[in-house]
Subunit: 334 residues, 2 copies
């Protein structure tokens, strides 16, 4: 049905090899022939069959990316960075959403394996280093994003959450706040513990400052609001003068509780607030939310770059790249 190189060659009066050369090594073909072949391609509406190309090449020119949650702007921005960088070298990126489910993650890895992807970028959910090793044995390298590899056997590109936590609390201290509360949890999430550790580090630099830790069981608006209500219920003298929330959803919940009719806690006057992730909603909150922003697109770009290098030379030693997050100051912490 669809035209093949053979049809193009016949119409242009050349051999199939020449048609291939026109498309892949134009410098090897005389201008006159090139024009004739191009005309035939246009006339027939020829579009290369990638399956055949791939079969011959032995591997695909597509990179697979599996993220924990496509709805999360952090990952979409990361994906965008990856796509752009890949496109610059003629590669495509296809996006899979594991949604933090091991079986979905496994399904995507299977797909990438049968498709003989050029490489895989993944923000892993479970422990999948065994599976990734298997892919690597088959010639498909993998780079971890937003997580570091436990045994450093794979390259990774991540963000320093400890530095992020420190950044947030240092900022609050600089604003003159001294009684700071960290609201977040569960501590099983590595990012949460890292951010808390960072907060502790920063507090330690200021002898008269204290850090209260308020644990919640999920990083959601609801959980944040509950924690916020608890603060509102306290005697005003017992309240912290600043809150560092483990992410923006929690921060928004806290903000709702503080600003609620009847609560009347003023933000930032009475309690300053800093979140984490800098999601879209952060700037659209009633009081625009200060937050810690991660260089998402840069992570994607860098991960692709490393991946392409490893695909070209499988003997390359794994590298761990860690980026620094950035503080975005808005009204909630002024």
């Amino acid at each position: 049905m669809a035209a093949s190189v053979k049809d193009v060659a016949a119409l242009a009066g050349v051999s199939v090899g020449t048609v291939s050369n026109v498309m892949n090594r134009p410098e090897k073909v005389s201008p006159a022939v090139a024009v004739r072949v191009q005309a035939a391609i246009d006339q027939l509406g020829f579009v290369r069959n990638d399956a055949a190309r791939q079969l011959r090449a032995g591997r695909s020119s597509t990179i697979g990316l599996v993220v924990l949650d496509v709805r999360n702007p952090f990952f979409t921005d990361l994906a965008r960075g990856a796509e752009d960088r890949a496109a610059a070298d003629g590669f495509s990126v296809i996006l899979g959403n594991s949604d933090e489910k091991a079986d979905r993650e496994a399904t995507y890895l299977d797909l990438f394996e049968v498709q003989r992807m050029h490489g895989v970028l993944i923000s892993p959910f479970g422990d999948i280093t065994g599976r990734l090793r298997q892919l690597r044995d088959r010639g498909i390298p993998a780079v971890l994003v937003d997580r570091t590899s436990a045994d450093a056997s794979f390259s990774s590109v991540s963000v320093d959450d400890i530095a992020g936590g420190s950044l947030a609390v240092t900022h609050l201290l600089a604003q003159g706040r001294r009684r700071i509360a960290f609201i977040g949890g569960p501590l099983e999430i590595q990012q949460v513990t890292d951010r808390l550790d960072g907060a502790r580090t920063a507090i330690a630099t200021q002898p008269d400052a204290t850090l209260e830790v308020i644990l919640i069981d999920a990083l959601t608006v609801i959980a944040g609001r509950a924690a916020g209500r608890e603060l509102v219920a306290r005697d005003p003298a017992e309240r912290p003068d600043a809150v560092f929330a483990a992410n923006d959803l929690v921060a928004m919940g806290v903000l709702q509780a503080l600003m609620m009719q009847g609560a009347d806690v003023r933000v930032p006057e009475q309690i300053a607030l800093v979140g984490y992730d800098d999601i879209d909603f952060a700037s659209a909150a009633v009081v625009p939310l200060s937050s810690i922003r991660q260089p998402s697109a840069l992570i994607g770009q860098t991960a692709v770059e490393i991946l392409l290098e490893e695909a070209a030379d499988p003997a390359l030693a794994p590298r761990q790249v860690v980026f620094q997050p950035e503080l975005v100051v808005r009204e909630s912490s002024l």
Copy 2:
């Protein structure tokens, strides 16, 4: 490097044809041989090369899906529905995010064409029927999601926004509200006009009810908050007793403005509020938000179903499926 059917055949002491049969038509092969071949497959860690399979088959067993915005839960749920339905028939879905950009949309369609996808699902951004026709000529059918095809030359699966608007306002009327305001815009967005039309239809059934239209220039929290402030600034007697917002973001902005310290408009007592889309945040709002929910997953499932049928029989006439949205009542409109 990687094992091929040939290696498996050699190890199992059978021909390549038999290996293929073991994998694709197990009933054609004797149990003894099947066991032997399976052992060889396991031992070698054989994984089928999809490029070769596809080349032979003439088309991929993957379906391409392009959405306007992967961050939008409507589309991720739709994608999930599509994936599940596709998996049931042994197909995979790959997800592309056009982000409402024509060039990104075109890039994905190009990719799907060279990959000889089994079919394409798309929530189109620009006018791409010409391009889709081209794909169809090459044997790649397309089904539109969340939009109807202007000339009905393609199948489509969408939601009745007029009915949704009517549903929202009918509900508010049933709650005894009579002075209703529609907040939304710009009217260039088809969904906005449809929802407004639905609202008008519902109002017409209640002679003593009035509909005020408050236009805004974007469907954002910020724009909604500005509109909400305008309501707060009015003499209480001039305020509507219910607001139907064109989507949940706008509704949340309105809610923020009404509930803000100093504004003290009680929701739903003084003003009831209904949004549209039922995003996650809707239920997490200070006052949980009533909203109109679209059957996202069902749309994805149905679209895949139609696509597979059209792929099997290209002569099938295009079908337009329109689903009805659903009202989700929460505290904001009680």
